[in-house]
Symmetry: C2
Subunit: 110 residues, 2 copies
DNA sequence: CTAATTAATCGTAATATTGCAATATACAAA
DNA sequence: TTTGTATATTGCAATATTACGATTAATTAG
């Protein structure tokens, strides 16, 4: 992108944006959906499941991990990935506040 | 970015990614938070509130509108923006399914 | 009509993202 | 040690995003 001025926003806004940005890609949504369905998986499972090359999947996994949305544990030769519940705390409260606002205040605006 | 292969994913994955990507920027989170607090606003309000130039804010508003997250109505010389509840349907169900999965299945994985 | 106000659009520079081939790393088995 | 398996990293081309100055468009006030 361009010069994203993270310094000009609150850390809450920045942190939330990082998590939502990590989810803002179809491949990463697909990974999260797969993890939701299967509970856990290794990189190779996703390579078989998704129409992307192994390095690309690995990169997407890294971004999801950096955002705190998944966690990986070494298990012999492979790495077992699963959802990290902590990553969704911020997102959950953001949408909770939003939902309440919509339900109460959003009677008839523009 | 690069060559985002939207054609290779389901339309659900793509649509959800569009909405979450739109929310994946601190300025747009700030706009949503401001709208949550104030219920409605015009572009000029945000220009005063956020440390960004008017064309930049206008651009962010356009993206939020394209993603179906806000709506704008012409009101004289200005345009009144407010949250569009419809935009959150997909996101809500995505997180609902995820939350249930975390609560039930995520007992002890990797 | 003219000036003022508000917001969108255009053009463009700076930077970030995506995807993959090639390669590297790490570990287990033979 | 060598081989095979699983995943991460590097490097790079193609493309997308962000930000803003300058301009335009649309509406209202005088």
């Amino acid at each position: 992108m361009g010069i994203t001025k993270t310094a000009l926003f609150t850390s809450e806004e920045n942190e939330l944006a990082i998590v939502l940005k990590a989810l803002g890609h179809p491949a990463r949504i697909a990974i999260m959906n797969y993890l939701t369905k299967m509970n856990e998986c290794i990189c190779g499972d996703l390579v078989n499941e998704l129409p992307l090359a192994q390095p690309t999947i690995s990169q997407h996994l890294k971004e999801l991990k950096n955002a705190g949305l998944i966690q990986g544990t070494i298990e012999g030769t492979s790495i077992c990935y699963c959802i990290n519940p902590d990553g969704f705390e911020k997102v959950k409260s953001f949408f909770d506040v939003l939902t309440i606002s919509i339900q109460t205040k959003h009677k008839s605006c523009c």
